[in-house]
Symmetry: C2
Subunit: 316 residues, 2 copies
């Protein structure tokens, strides 16, 4: 129940001229008559897998449910337009809350984030059952004049950039998602980016995916990776290094992007986002994920990441 199913799915989904970008990127891109492309993505999060409802405030769970979808729109440099929310709620409530209190708390987490990103909650479906909480959100966006930012455009010589700092999201940031929507739109508008995605499963794993989608290789310089304070904190308990956490923890929801060298330098100089943009590596022709090994030498970098045992790679 991993890659196999996605492969089966991709092989079995009918083709359509409307579907400009199908499974394999962060979201689908639909050609929308009469003009202008629609970007659509869906992501479900579930109790016990993506959060522990007995331990966390459901307001934060609601924020995460919408946030991960907005992060996928950001990954495409798409402007959010609307979201649809499907709730399946435990009939007996949870954590001392009734079913309705739970539903309201989830929406209270989503609504400010939706408003912040001018995203209409266009509708929803609310069900109860004997099972645990599952939230499925579909987010719709539109691409700007520069088009959707795909994973597949990186070229040898491009520089690899990342926003913010990575690692240790498990300590709380994985719930308090700040999707980099504004940042992605600004970068896409003002700079020439060749490829991009959000860091959801760990920098190393996601970088290896961007490399594979682009048909090139990526060198990540571990010494350059911006490490979040939470990664240090987690390392003090986990026995792993802060860098390990930054490379592999996942659920950072930062942007990973590539740009031609001169453009990347201008971007790094201007630092236009209010949050840091850091150069963490560069693209090479040789496929795979690499790290510097002294001089011009390279050695493989393991694509560590948060590959959920329960979750095959998302089709969108």
């Amino acid at each position: 129940m991993e890659r196999e199913f996605v492969e089966w799915l991709v092989a079995n989904l009918p083709r359509s001229p409307l579907l400009r970008i199908g499974p394999g990127d962060d979201a689908a891109v639909l050609a929308w008559p009469p003009e202008g492309d629609l970007v659509a993505t869906t992501d479900a999060i579930t109790d016990q897998v993506d959060f522990l409802l007995e331990e966390v405030d459901p307001v934060r769970v609601g924020r995460k449910a919408l946030g991960v979808n907005l992060s996928d729109l950001a990954a495409m440099a798409a402007e959010p337009v609307a979201a649809l929310v499907s709730l399946v709620l435990p009939r007996r409530g949870a954590g001392g809350r009734s079913t309705q209190e739970l539903a309201e708390a989830i929406y209270r987490g989503m609504l400010p984030l939706a408003e912040q990103h001018a995203c209409v909650i266009a509708g929803g479906d609310t069900n109860t059952w004997d099972g645990p909480l599952a939230i499925s959100v579909t987010a719709l966006g539109r691409v700007g004049p520069s088009g959707a930012l795909l994973r597949s455009g990186a070229r040898p010589g491009d520089q690899v950039l990342v926003t913010g700092a990575l690692g240790g999201s498990l300590l709380g940031r994985h719930l308090d998602v700040e999707p980099r929507v504004r940042e992605a739109l600004l970068l896409r508008e003002r700079f020439e980016l060749t490829a991009g995605m959000d860091v959801s499963d760990g920098l190393a794993l996601d970088a290896s995916r961007l490399a594979a989608a682009s048909g090139c290789g990526l060198v990540i310089d571990p010494a350059a990776v911006p490490i979040a304070p939470a990664a240090h904190e987690l390392a003090s308990r986990s026995g792993r290094t802060p860098l390990d956490h930054a490379l592999g923890d996942g659920e950072d929801f930062e942007l990973l992007a590539t740009a031609p060298a001169a453009e990347a330098e201008r971007l790094l100089r201007e630092q236009p986002l209010g949050i840091p943009v850091t150069r963490v590596g560069w693209c090479i022709a040789e496929p795979g994920l690499w790290q510097p090994a002294g001089g011009d030498a390279l050695r493989p970098l393991a694509p560590t990441g948060y590959l959920h045992a329960d979750k095959p790679p998302s089709a969108t």
Copy 2:
């Protein structure tokens, strides 16, 4: 956990000029730049509530998951464009099938229906967990030149029409959904319809909703209601009448529409659909749901229907 939550939700959802039709109809209508409206709907179906996975072929469950959403597009007279599918699958599989076999079977149920209606499966998210099966589908469509068909346009004097025959869907038809997409588009194009919706929760209950949305009343003539063979079959076991089943069973996924009298007569004469269209009543000024009581007299008709204890009225 009923109406209250939907009311809370409607009161708390931010307004937007993009959202032409929000919660309360069968689907949301979004003004989509630069022109042309997008129709979006989401509906989840879950094991033990909407089907019993141990007893039914998951291929049929997949068909239903997409079918109920396409039926909501049909209810708006919208042409399907795309669907996004979110699966949350039991980790141990079900009914002797592995998780992957289950996922594939669900898609095998959806794909022919999607193809039949030229609906692109634009993406999906596939998860597993310790809970039972939940399938959430978001369907996107576009309205034709006549605009979306709303619940709110019925006027006193309009005739009330229904496609097909009603009742007894529990015997199997609730899974083998035939969404009336083609029928709705044809009717919308060739006839003046004033209001419409799909019959998902029972003719009587849904008719009362259409009446309420339109600010008028509806008279349903029980003698005119087309009764499905399955309603007779179910009645032979349930101790209720076939008419009771036709009025209240729900999950018929037929179209309920209103049209001015002359237009309705033309439609009934032409019978353009290949399935029967039947006049089941008419609209009056006095709010509520009514039935003939001899001469010009009317008496109330109970809005029986399948109001799922587990499911508040859908926000879309």
